[in-house]
Amino acid sequence: MSIVTQPQVVAVPPRDRLNWTILVAGVIVGGWIMLAVFAPWIAPYDPNAVDILHALTAPSADHWFGTDQVGRDVLSRVIFAARIDLLMCIAGVLPPLLIGTTVGLLSGYYGSVVDTALMRLYDLTAAFPFFVLVLAIVGILGPGLLNFFIALALVGWVTYARLVRAEVMSIRDSEYIQAAQCLGYSDRVILARHVMPNAFGPVLAYAVSDSVLVMLAGASFGFLGMGAQPPTAEWGVMISDGSAFIRQAWWICMFPGLAAISLGLGLAFLGDGLGHLRRRQVSA
């Protein structure tokens, strides 16, 4: 019995198990999207309705997740918060993705000065710890969700640009691109129809994984008072609110955290599954 098995034989899990992972992850993420979209119809209470008489009540049949320090229903707030936290996943990933992909395409395809400048910029950004840089920018622009998105776009696009650039450079000299060039297609058509679709796969898988980080960062910012502002229902803000009452009322902190973990898990497995799927396509 050999201790080290040959990796190429077993490193790829069987197809059915992989699809199963993606399916479960898709159901979790899809479930949260449904909850967020239909929040007003699903949530049993108004998320901001104050009810001092029923403050800090433990989970019960009336309030499944209990109530917080001013009597707001925790379940309703968790459901409504899904709107903000999913928005963070989209608004925190999409702008850097679009900017980075565009710059990376141009820089990888044409090279030259833009490319050199991009690499220097990447070195510069990479020198700062991601979280610290975003934190500093948000602190300077002022706390709030919009500024959080701006900071993410400013810092995040460089990573996407570098990823796309590397892909494009490996595609640039391939035969089908040369064929397209010989046939006299313009650069724009080649970039949009030939380079882009082939370079986008890894970027998409990365973007899904990145959304986990962004969601957690957004919740952390809410917790630190730098992201979404109270009384907005957002998981990080709720945990921050509840942490003062943690001794008497564990449920205020517990449920938003579990919500964040379940969405994070769904997104992480989705990204992981997509990455595997792509790698297998490449190796096949």
């Binding site: 080290v4 098995t5 077993v10 610290v132 500093a136 952390s220 630190l224 945990i239 955290g257």
Partner: protein, 290 residues
């Protein structure tokens, strides 16, 4: 320069923050002058760059002390915490990565992969609060905040903060080490060793593992960057008087020079660690060039 420009794009006026809401214009003007804020931006930058060269990164407007002194005061808990986290995170990460890479795709590997992904999806601050509630308040095993005075008190106080950060870091370490191990397992020199008749156990411990350590070492710069972000949050949760708490308080109080100095210091640390790691790998492996 980036940190300088960043900090000076702020819309708020620090002089106004220090003076308070009801200060008269003359007071504000005087404060502004004493900090050199009345000069044009480029002149402020020249002064800043000049001071930077002589190791002076400015004065805290809130504490009325040099930023370097503040950092010197707050750095120890953070350094202690960082070292603690590495001590807690590296041994299990090493063991799990080896278990995982010995049989890629096997049961152990699948479980470790799933648990690893789960570990990364947990918000550190939530984990911190929940652990302090359970181990600190309910069981009373560990203090829930502060830093303590002696070495053993530090160990005791910082156990929960270090553990919450470590839980979050272990998956990252496992993933990179596992990938490196599997990649090296298919390398030509492993086949060569096998052809020479080395036992599988010997191949794994003497051929594959040492070769896989190097790529992991190179990741240390990235990991330090992660760690700095993590400690900022964890220090806030557990009220540890470290650089992370200092950073958050400075941001909330618009204490420019402190934010600027800390951001700069974090960047220098990351670059420094990457550089040291490069040097180390050149020392270990003569093939690696700087």
């Amino acid at each position: 320069m980036v940190t300088f420009l960043l900090v000076h794009m702020v819309p708020g006026d620090p002089a106004r923050v220090i003076a308070g809401d009801r200060a008269n214009p003359e007071t504000i003007e005087a404060i502004r002058k004493s900090f050199g804020l009345d000069q044009p931006l480029w002149q402020q930058f020249v002064t800043y760059a000049g001071n930077l060269l002589s190791g002076d990164i400015g004065q805290s407007m809130r504490y009325k002390r040099p930023v370097t002194a503040l950092i010197g005061q707050y750095i120890w808990p953070t350094l202690f915490l960082t070292g603690y986290v590495i001590c807690l995170a590296v041994p299990p990460a090493l063991a799990l990565a080896i278990a995982s890479a010995r049989k890629p795709g096997g049961l152990a590997d699948q479980i470790i992969r799933i648990v690893g992904i789960a570990g990364m999806a947990i918000p550190v601050f939530w984990l911190g609060i929940m652990m302090s509630r359970f181990f600190g308040v309910a069981l009373g095993w560990f203090p829930v905040s502060g830093y303590g005075k002696t070495f053993f008190e530090h160990l005791h106080h910082l156990f929960l903060p270090a553990l919450s950060t470590a839980i979050w870091m272990v998956p990252v370490l496992i993933q990179s080490l596992r990938a490196a191990l599997i990649e090296k397992a298919g390398a030509d020199f492993v086949t060569a060793a096998r052809a020479q008749g080395a036992g599988e156990r010997e191949i794994f411990w003497r051929t594959i593992l040492p070769n896989a350590v190097l790529p992991t070492l190179n990741l240390f710069g990235v990991i330090i960057a992660f760690l700095i972000g993590g400690t900022i949050i964890v220090e806030t949760v557990y009220a540890v008087p470290g650089l992370g708490s200092l950073m958050i308080n400075a941001l909330l109080a618009r204490d420019y020079h402190v934010v600027q100095g800390l951001t700069l210091m974090f960047a220098v640390t990351t670059v420094g660690v990457t550089f040291v790691v490069d040097l180390l790998s050149a020392l270990i492996d003569p093939r690696a060039r700087l």
